[in-house]
């Protein structure tokens, strides 16, 4: 399902299905990837409901093992405790994604927790590329992601979050989303990112925080020194992917797509940036009165042994287009491999 299209309504609307009200899910997922030349194998896999794992596949040859993770319960409810452990053994190369957008339903009062622990051994690489998370109004979720890298290990990961089902006019007026990420190399903390969004608070509308934008996304690469040229290239990709009119098949509303801005138009042409901002930043017109919206903005910076991209805007499809392009750039430059987007995207 496209991230920006209306989400099928759970019944009744404001009380999403809570099939396990008395018994919250305690899901567990363990995946080990081992490299035996020339192939990376999924050497151990354990999934406890609601987690499920599809059979690994190799769309780009034996070198990289792709695995699609599934959450079979439809969404996360208050009190759920999900935990995952991912081991990437020496020289193994793995790419993980999810089959669909994750949903976090309005809380029954309890907080849902999701914890992910990743270890990447020397020469290993993990690409952690889940699809976006839709955080319903009133949801309470706390995520923790810890990555431990050995020397010469690499991690690339992103997170795309939509706050509220904005396609139906829902705003994130109550609830709390917390996401704590830390990446270590040995006993050295390389990157720490403790993010919190409190529904209905000033941070949602202040220019310092979200400026009324319901979509935020981050993409980080840690484990390599990144050159200023690559940072610059990642910024340029925003102009390129942003200038492209959106794919209406991806769920972006075609209403504002300016007919005079064909997809092939180079980003450097005057006006293209504006055209994209108008087209992409439009909220659902049926529910939002016409008003000035903060255009989507992005930033790229270097981390200690890495790089970080941030997006703040209105469209997960737009964020994804840019971040997929940056991911492709990093892949090509850091591991010498062409991008190979999983079919489920």
């Amino acid at each position: 399902m496209s991230p920006d299209s209306p989400i099928p309504s759970p019944v009744p609307l404001d009380a999403p299905p809570q099939p396990h009200e008395s018994k919250a899910w305690h899901g567990q997922l363990q995946l080990d990837f081992t490299h035996r030349h020339p192939k990376t194998h999924l050497s151990h896999s354990f999934a406890q409901s609601p987690f499920k794992v599809q059979r690994p596949f190799y769309p780009e040859g034996d070198g990289v093992c792709h695995v699609v993770m599934l959450h079979t319960a439809g969404g996360i409810v208050g009190g759920d405790r999900l935990s995952s452990q991912i081991q990437v053994q020496p020289d193994a190369q793995a790419l993980l994604t999810t089959a669909a957008a994750a949903k976090v339903y309005r809380s029954n009062g309890q907080t849902a927790t999701q914890s992910v622990q990743v270890q990447v051994q020397p020469g290993g690489c993990l690409e952690w590329l889940p699809q976006e998370t839709i955080v319903f109004n009133g949801a309470q979720i706390q995520q923790r992601l810890r990555v431990d890298l050995a020397d010469q290990a690499l991690w690339m990961g992103w997170e795309m979050v939509r706050l509220g089902r904005t396609a139906r006019g829902e705003q994130f007026s109550t609830g709390c989303w917390r996401s704590h990420t830390e990446v270590w190399r040995g006993d050295r903390l390389l990157w720490l990112d403790p993010q919190q969004l409190q529904g209905g608070s000033a941070m949602m509308t202040s220019a310092h925080g979200l400026a009324g934008c319901p979509v935020v996304a981050s993409f980080a690469v840690v484990g390599r020194e990144i050159s200023p040229e690559l940072v610059q290239a990642a910024r340029s990709l925003w102009r390129l992917t942003g200038a492209e009119p959106s794919c209406s098949s991806q769920g972006d509303r075609p209403v504002f797509q300016p007919a005079s801005q064909p997809a092939s138009q180079p980003a450097s042409q005057p006006g293209s940036q504006t055209a994209f901002q108008i087209g992409e930043s439009a909220p659902d017109l049926t529910t939002e009165p016409a008003r000035t919206l903060t255009p989507a903005t992005v930033g790229v910076t270097r981390l200690m042994s890495g790089m970080l991209c941030r997006y703040r805007g209105h469209s997960t499809a737009e964020a994804r287009r840019w971040l997929v392009a940056v991911w492709g750039l990093m892949r090509q430059n850091l591991v010498g491999r062409s991008p190979c987007p999983p079919r489920v995207w």
């Binding site: 720490l192 993010q195 941070m203 202040s206 310092h208 400026a211 200690m304």
Partner: protein, 233 residues
């Protein structure tokens, strides 16, 4: 170190040290940084004193500077209790937390300047600074100096935030531009928020250390792409 034994004399001695540490005349170059304000002003996104007030209020309530104030409290306790491991750990925490390369380099540059200065002024502190590891953040050096001069922890946090706020307002006064009086009035208007941040930051447990500063981080990330720059961040 010449701290008098008498308690009121001792408290006025520590006040003098705090004024020295929080003074804009402290030679660490704080005035050369805008922390993203220059980006916003150049892009026409921050043009009034009210917008600056909202920006600084949010940074104090939910931004990185609030977490720095927490680190000051933790480091102050670590220095006082002589826990070198904790000093190194919180310094590393500060380095990893920096949202952008520019603010990380800013913190390290100001930290290095303060360490050099303190090593001249208080040679006894050299081994303490050596425990920080390779890069000392400004908040780390500030907390070490404050603990050494027996500045109470709340005063140290207040002094750190006040110094940060003064610097940010001065950057706004130059960039927007605003009148000097408007800048001083804004500073006073932010005092309740400043005190509130000190109170809440001190009480925060480790598991509650979160920030929300997407606009701030993106403005700082884009600062290095500006064609002309007066400030270094």
């Amino acid at each position: 170190m010449p701290i008098p034994a008498d308690s009121s004399a001792s408290s006025s001695a520590s006040l003098a040290y705090l004024l020295q540490l929080a003074s804009p005349a402290l030679p660490v170059g704080g005035y050369t940084y805008s922390e993203g304000l220059e980006t916003l002003v150049q892009q026409g996104l921050l043009t009034t004193v009210a917008e600056l007030e909202d920006w600084l209020t949010q940074e104090l309530q939910t931004g990185a500077v609030r977490l720095e104030a927490v680190a000051i409290a933790r480091l102050h306790a670590a220095v006082t209790a002589d826990q070198p491991g904790a000093i190194a750990q919180w310094n590393q925490w500060l380095s990893a937390l920096r949202d952008t390369e520019e603010v990380r380099l800013q913190s390290w540059q100001m930290g290095r300047s303060l360490v050099r200065l303190m090593q001249e002024l208080e040679p006894d502190l050299t081994p303490v600074f050596q425990r920080c590891g390779d890069r000392t953040n400004f908040a780390t050096a500030f907390a070490i100096a404050a603990a050494h001069w027996q500045i109470p922890v709340q005063s140290a946090m207040l002094g750190y935030l006040h110094s940060w706020l003064t610097t940010a307002i001065n950057a706004g006064v130059k960039l927007i531009p605003l009148g000097q009086t408007a800048g001083q009035r804004l500073l006073m208007q932010l005092y309740p928020t400043l005190h509130e941040t000190v109170e809440t930051a001190q009480a925060l447990p480790d598991e509650a250390l979160y920030a929300c500063n997407w606009g701030w981080a993106i403005a700082s990330m884009n600062h290095e792409t500006l064609y002309t720059r007066l400030f270094r961040s």
